[in-house]
Amino acid sequence: MKLKEFIVSEAIVPQITATDRNSALRELATALANAGALPLAAVDEVVDALIKREQNGSTGFGKGVAVPHVKHPKVKRIAGTIGRSAAGIDFAALDHQPVFTIFLLLSPENQPQQHLQAMNIVFSNLQKNIFRRFLRQSSTREAIVDLLDEADQRP
């Protein structure tokens, strides 16, 4: 699977305005809805589910990145987006450091294999120092999309 198969380019938020976790989740879910990847009417429910997921265990897995994700019946097709915060957001991360890059992933309820494949490709890239650094430095949507294209070409 490739990043560009589920990351919705039009929903990428290069400069998140939210300063706290819950608002950031809402901002990114709304961006997905505005891009047509999620029904607008489902945003509230999906955000609630994402927050609940974070409360059960932070998806801030360290190194300045968080990967909030949820499987939800209102999600018909896997969809993801990326948000950047220059100031950093407190995600109660495992390493207690602020989060600068958020990969949000929404999956339908009945496709656990596809969900794991998408998580696999996201984390395979996030493991690479150079990918994390470039992502953190990419301040425009175009730059982020270019980075995703490059990552997809170099597995």
Binding site: F61, P112, Q113, L116, M119, N120, F123, L126, Q127
Partner: protein, 93 residues
Amino acid sequence: MPTASRDIIVSNSLGLHARPAMQFVDTANQFRSKVTVSKGGDEPYQADGKSVMQMIILAATEGTSLKIHAVGEDAEIAVEKLAKLFEDKFGEE
């Protein structure tokens, strides 16, 4: 240095997603042994059993065969406890 290993099969229907991956890492961290989890097949990968990111990269779906390997004084008990998590399906279905 003592070593221990065990072959297991992922049997919970959602596979090794983030929550069980974290549960595994939490348990692995209770031991001093170095723990690795490897997957064979078409996309072989060896994950550090104490790294959540690497455990998620395994993308181990239901039915995937994995090998848990530990090296250290407490290798035997570590492998036993970690294999038990899979046997118990991480408390899932």
